[in-house]
Symmetry: C2
Subunit: 243 residues, 2 copies
């Protein structure tokens, strides 16, 4: 059997360079969308509906019995009820509920992968690192690690997560992709203390969130396997899948 | 006076994210276009006209007294006379002559920067690293380090060169750009032996050129300051500029 390929796409603006339709696409938006998605599903959320705009989120909130959430510039967006922090979604609150979450970068990328007929779409973050790796190895399909970035600008944290995955599963894939090599190298540089690495490297998103007083969120979003569940996008929703 | 900014653009497909019109743009195509440009100008070439297609190169060759050069898939392109290796252009051959060079990635990017009204366009490579750094520091303008990449896919060698520049001049700029941080980190990882780093990291272009028997070219293109001249794009040509 042919060894499947693995590529890393560091910005949504580069997704068109990769063969999405023959691949599983892992959506990576470490700070904080895909970390919060893992957390909410891990704590029993029935499903998560990712939407791009605040208006869509409000609209669905009126039509269905759901929780609406999303932030713009560090504040809960007007018309929505909750924010983007993983700490907002403990079991006693989210269990059995459906969350409609508006995020810009991650949702846009997810919809791009959908439009390009990805074989499967899952979301990845440090809180669910292990299960993402296990899933990718068992599927024996081509993989694209797709970083949500920040308004198409490459960011450090999503790149580091791609590197974390690559360092764990590279033996199972054929990797001819400089972005993947770079991501793995950066992860190996930073893995001793990812939080400190983000700080020392002056990562733009580290600064943005720290200015909002969200150090605790950053630390949580960089912690491995604290919400080890597999979010799979099916029928317009992210649901937790057993593997 | 406000500290100028520095950004790194890792692929031509991302150039639209940056404020080109307020910046000096450094075109980086380490293997081998910008290295060969530095070499030819250092050895006395009168000017270099970069063109995107083989057809344009042939056309100019018929109209003017110039040397035409360019490769496609590791071979001198049909209708042209010379190739892309820096070793093709020693002083005894190129001194006083005009070279029309067709390269795909680097020339495309240069024309994009031109279309976006860059304040100035220069080319950078390890052979002319020092003079590029000196120029950028003395100009006190915003800078975009623009990597030519490979058909829009990010590559290791151009990223490493961006990192080499950043590590030398960062005190003079305000840098809020994760791509720059990543480039500098990778350069610091690899600077002890860039050739070995490219090899170990399995860089895609390292493989491509090694398959063509071009190890010697790669080594030369990764050597600092062996052709320390400043190529500036003016009036459709790259010329050597004193600073």
């Amino acid at each position: 059997m042919k060894t499947p390929t693995l590529h890393t796409c560091l910005s949504p603006a580069l997704l068109n360079l990769y063969d999405v339709s023959s691949s599983i696409v892992v959506i990576i938006d470490v700070l904080r969308a895909t970390s919060t998605i893992a957390e909410a599903l891990f704590n029993g959320a029935k499903s998560i509906i990712p939407v791009e705009t605040v208006a869509e989120c409000i609209k669905l909130g009126k039509q269905m019995d759901v929780i609406t959430a999303g932030e713009r510039e560090g504040q809960i967006a007007e018309g929505l009820t909750y924010g983007n922090s993983p700490f907002t979604y403990p079991k006693e609150f989210i269990n059995g509920k459906t969350l409609v979450l508006t995020t810009t970068n991650g949702t846009k990328l997810l919809h791009m992968a959908l439009a390009e007929n990805a074989k499967a779409i899952i979301t990845g973050s440090f809180p669910n690192l292990s299960i993402v790796c296990n899933y990718l190895v068992t599927q024996k399909q081509n993989v694209i690690l797709a970083c949500a970035a920040w308004k198409d600008r490459i960011n450090l944290e999503d790149t580091l997560f791609a590197g974390a995955v690559i360092s764990r599963i590279k033996e199972h894939f054929s990797i001819n992709c400089d972005s993947s090599q770079m991501a793995e190298t950066l992860y190996n540089d930073g893995k001793g203390d990812l939080y400190e690495f983000m700080k020392v490297k002056n990562a733009s998103h580290y600064h943005r969130l720290t200015n909002y007083g969200l150090e605790k969120d950053i630390r949580h979003c960089l912690t491995e396997n604290v919400a080890n569940i597999l979010p799979v996008y099916e029928g317009g929703r992210l649901i937790a899948k057993k593997i």
